[in-house]
Every structure is written in C-alpha cells, then in structure tokens.
Symmetry: none
Subunit: 203 residues, 4 copies
DNA sequence: CATGAATGAGAGTTCATTCAT
DNA sequence: GATGAATGAACTCTCATTCAT
C-alpha cells in the first residue's frame, strides 16, 4: 500500500514539476513561443516524457489554466465569508487585484494569453471561472438590493468594475506602465482602486 | 538629384507596401500566424526581398508597431480640436475604445502583445505613445481646472479612466467575454463607458 | 515437475494471446500501422511485457509469419484428402485463392510483404512453405502421370498455375483492380480461375 | 534566354535526382519505410530542400508513380505498331514481363507497393494506366474478332493473362522464388509465358 | 512475472534567414 | 533591386526499446 501511494505521489510531483516549468515559459514567451522541447529542457527530461503526463500541448495548457483558476479561486475565497455585500465587494476586488500582482504568470494565463481556447476541453476550468463571475455579479446585486448603488443594472456595474480591475492588472502584467516610475506603479494602482470605489459609491 | 530622390521615394513606397500587407495579414491571422513567406506572397515578391527593407522580423515588427501607433494617433486626433476639455475627454475615450473595437489586432500589438520591446529600436513609437498619454493627462488636468472633477489628482483620474478603457477593450480583444452573448458584448461595453463617465462626473 | 510444466503452458498461452492480438490488429490496420503499444493495449498488458515473449518486433513478425503459414496450411489441408489428383489440384487452387480473399493480410504477410526475411530466424516458416509447394508440384506430377496434361513439365505447369493464382490474389490484395467495379472483382477472379483450369485441361 | 533555360534545366535535373533517390529507397524499404530525411541524405541535401520540389511526401510519391507509368508506357509502346492482333498481344505480354524484370523498382512502385493511393491527386498517372489496360483489352478483343480465341469474353481473357504476368513478375520482384535456384528463375518465367500462350491459343 | 517511467531516435513539416547570381 | 535555391534549426508527436523495481 505504501508503495503504490508513494508512486502516486511521485507521479503527481512530476506533473507539478512540468506544470511549473511550463507556467514560467508560457508567461515569458506566450503559448506559441513555448515548445514541448523547451519545457522538457527546463525540467531536464526528454520531450517524450512530457507526453507521459499530458496528451499534447493543448492538454498541458488546459491543465495549467485549470490550476491557475484554482489558485485564483482560493485567493478570492475568503471574501465569500464576509456578510455585508459592500464589504464583500470591496474585499473581492482587492483580492482580485492582489492576485494579479502576486501571480502575474497565472493572471496572464487566465485572462490575457491568446491560446487555443476551444473551451470544450477546458470546460472544468471555465465552469469555475463562470462560477466566480456569477458570485461577483450576485454580490453586486446584493449591494443594489441594499441600496449601495443607485443604478440597478447589476451586469453593467459588475462589468465596469471588472474592466477597471482587469485593465489595471493587465497594464501592469504586460508592462505598459513605462511612463510611471517603477516604484509608483503599484501605489498608483491601489489609489486607482480606491478612486473607482469612491466613484461607484456615488453611482 | 532627381534620380536619387525618385529612388528614395520608390524605396519608401515598397516599405509601405510590405507594412500594409503585413498589417492586413496579421489582422486576419494574428501576429504569430504570419510568416515572412506569407507577407512576401501577399505582395507577390520573394521572401528575400523583405530583407532588403527590414533587417529581420523584429524590425518589421517594430515598424508595424510604429504604424499601429500612427493609425491610432490619427484615430484619436480629431478629439484634439474640441475646445471644451470635458467634451474633449469624452470624445477621446470614445475614440480610444472605438479604435480597440475596429482594430483589435493593432490594439493588441500596441497594448497587449508581449514582444521584444527592447525599446531602443522602438523609441519613435513610444515617443508618440507617451505624447498621446500626456495629452490625455493634460485634458484631465484641464477638466480639473474647470472644476469638472472634485478630485485634483489628474494622474490618478487619468490612470483610472485608462484602466477601465484598456480593460474593456482587452477583455474583448483577447476573448474573455464568453459569459456574455456575442451580440451583447459591444453594447455592454458602451453602456459601461457611459457608466464610468457618469461615475467620473460625480467624482 | 508439474509446476514447471504449467508455467511453460502458461507462457505458451501468453505468446498465443499476443500473436492473436497482433494478427487481429494488423488485419485491421495493415502491418506498418501496428505498433507494439497497440498490441500491448489490445491484450491489456504493458508494452514491456511483449518483450518478455519476443526479443523484438522482428521476432514477433517472424512468429506471425509462421502463424500465417500455419493458418494457410490448415486452409489448404482438406485438399490433401482428395484422391483424384485432378480434383485435388482444382480444390487446392480454389482454396489457395479463397485463402487470399478471406485473409488478405495474411496473404500479404506471406507472399507480398518486403521485410527482413533474413530467413535464418524464419526457417521453420519456410520449411512449411516449401513443403506445401512440393505437395503442389507433386499433385501436378500426379496429374501428368494420369495424362491430365499433355505437357510433362511439372515444374513449369505448377509455376504457371501459381503465377496466375498469385497474380490474381495480389492484384486484389494490393488494390490494383480499380478499373473493375468493386462488386465485379471477386466474380471476375473466379471466372478467371475457371478459365485457366479449362485452358490447362487442353494443355 | 540561355540563363533561364539553364536554370530550368538545372531545376529539372534536381527533381530527377530526388526522384531517383526516392525510387531506390521506396523500393528497398517500402513507402512507410522511407523518410524525407532518408531521401535528403541520399542526395546530400537538407530535408527542407525536398520541399522546394515537392509539396509533401505524397506528391513526391505520386510524381514517382507517374514517371514509372511513363517509362512503362514507353517500354510497351512499340507493340502498338504491330498490326496483327495476335502478334501484338504476344509482343505486349513479352514486353510487360520484360519491363518487370528490367525495372523491378518501377514495377513494384506501380503494381505492388501499398501507399496512399487516394487516386484523385494521381489521376494523370492512372489515366495513363487505364489507357494501357484498355489498349490491352482491345487487343484481346481484336484477337477474338479474328477467331484467335474460341472464348468471346475479352475481359476475362485479358484479366487472366494479366494475372499470370503480374504473378510471374511479382513473385520475382518480391523474392518469392526461393525454391528455384537463382539461375533458373528467369528461364522458368519465360517458359511459363510460352506455356500460357500455348494454353490461350487452344482456348 | 509484469510494469511504470523514461528516452533516443526519428517522423513530416515549417520557418527565418542567407547568399550567389 | 530582386530572387531562386538552399539550409539549420526548430516544431509536435510517435515509436521501439530498456531498466529498475
């Protein structure tokens, strides 16, 4: 029993090692720019070995996206426990942006990278994503119900906040904040978050 | 002298033909999907010819970025003529988003793509970009001066609006709006723009 | 002793299972289309297991050829019981062709495939083959003795009939009968067999 | 003019060099057994070069088949000039077999090799083939008309003779005449041809 | 006995790039 | 100025095979 357990563990560890290596590379060079060979080299295994753990490049990518989605979910999860919808919304946004700054690789993978998102195969991943999105919209709706917003269009409010947060993170992740000195960048981002929250309050 | 002038002119025309073809192609097939061969075929020249006008694929890429920047500038330019800063701001934002929807690949090229932006070679391009950004911030400042905003932090206001617009366009460009039905996507985007403007007004 | 006997028996059974699976597969997908992996999957063992029973793919191939030869022998065997040499000859030819139509891949394996027939390893197989051939020639000789043929050159008669039958089957097996409509092919083959028999009679 | 002509010639020569190398290899190792790399090595060029002359492996193969068909046609052509259908038939058969013995590679390629014969792409080739076949059947018909055969079934007669000749050549080409001493093989073949002709006469 | 894990070699194919002409 | 010919390097992926366990 101990043996098969250990083997299972080792197998899982190997999968993880591949995923990690792939993650770095995908982030650095984009989906098309990464080759199975690159990944194999990075972990010092032969290319063929990758295929023992993942059917093909796509499946590897999907697994990665799924993982990223999972990590993100866990990052945001604590928000769900907050009762007051407005506080929940604030915390959620903060955590979303924080996730982006702490895991630019993963954020990139989930929300920016251009890749075969034929979706079907990746259903699990996007099921999770859609669920999170729904949770977000529901929180906005709860805020509306409690009159935190004057507007009653939950969809548009949620989308607007998302646009801001996504823009904020992705300008950072894809290094389009050159005109701001490096040390100011994160500060500015959080100021902006506060600003949009204040703006939203008066909505 | 007339001869060398003509030659220069012809050379420039050829460069333009290449860039146009490249732009066209890569609008259709995405950046990674275009090869030097493709471009050569499109203009009915041999691949080798491309190299007479551009040192390598990177340089072509930089030139393309510059081109994109120029197109974008022209797309936004009319705003500059509007006297009232608030109206100018509104129009500018509208045009920025409109540019993103009309030229998703150029937008991608300018604001999303991860590529050897070793900058040096691309200075011209980013000079233009920084100029546009400054113009934007100045407009915000003008709005502040005319008390269109209560807040006086032009940088943060500008950045916040930019985040929203960029997030909005890039979610669209990189196809992260799957949870909304296709026909609703653009509508939602414009609603969101109106919303953030309204929000900003009360700032 | 009983134990080692049982082990031997089990080993032989496994060998058979592998051969059967290989035969089955390669009947379906042609010889080149089958990989050790395929075979292993079919018998639900690991690829490595195959190598416990066969040194390499070649040896498996040889065993398969032997198997095919055996099947063919059994297919033709009933002829041997026919007393009258002419009737025996007729039946033999009919069975030879029938074998080709019923087991095109085995026929291919035996009489068409180009493969490392370095022979040595495959002696057993060809011993069988030569025996069958001899039996055929002897039958022709018996027909000569009984004046079924005017010609007395048993070798040439046998070879001529074999050429016809082999050509007939192999044009079919290797799909060179395109100019005849599919449903006519087998009919034509049997008509041709009748014709050559009639021709031979007058020889 | 001289230059472009020379270039054309050189290009054609290169094509020929590739085809020749490929021919040998295909014959020795079968379609599946030959790789573009092999061919490239044989002519001491890089694999990519092959693709300048042939779209892919299939097209190379088709070109080869077409060539083979052409050579065969020329080999058989002189027969067409013979007026008397019976003499023409005899000569045609002799030439067919002779072609097989003289160009086993080509015969193999045309009538034995298993390969993607998706036909469509190879129309030209098989147009030629079918034409030759028709010519053969017509000659048989002419013999019937002139009472060289008692049977009036031109199709079956033609097919029967073809089976014999094809079997004869392909047993030789694919080395299935091991039971006959090497020096007897060709002799036996021609004896067999004479025999079937004699048989056919009495048909 | 059986296998999971691993791999070197090689498949077909495409690409950016060079260079003699 | 333009190009046809060529190529090295890279791509994804499969295969036969080995070996420690």
């Amino acid at each position: 029993m101990g043996i098969s357990e250990r083997k299972e563990r080792e197998k899982e560890e190997m999968r993880q090692r591949i995923l990690e290596a792939a993650l770095h590379l995908f982030r650095e060079r984009g989906f098309e720019g990464v080759s199975i060979r690159n990944i194999a080299e990075a972990i010092e295994y032969s290319p063929a070995t990758i295929y023992l753990y993942f059917k093909d490049k796509n499946e590897l990518f999907y697994a990665l996206q799924f993982e990223a989605m999972d990590i993100k979910r866990n990052h945001l999860l604590p928000s769900a426990a907050i009762e007051d919808p407005w506080e929940r919304l604030l915390d959620f946004g903060r955590r979303y942006i924080d996730f982006g700054f702490k895991h630019p690789d993963l954020y990139d993978l989930l929300f920016i990278i251009k890749a075969p998102m034929d979706a079907l195969e990746n259903q699990q991943c996007w099921t999770l994503g859609v669920a999170t999105h729904s949770f977000f919209v529901e929180t906005v709706q709860a805020c509306i119900d409690k009159r935190y917003f004057k507007s009653t269009d939950a969809d548009t409010i949620a989308y607007t906040l998302w646009c801001h947060a996504h823009g904020l993170v992705s300008l950072f992740v894809r290094e389009r904040m050159r005109m701001y000195p490096p040390e100011k960048r994160e500060v500015l981002a959080w100021q902006s978050y506060e600003m949009i929250i204040k703006m939203a309050q008066t909505l």
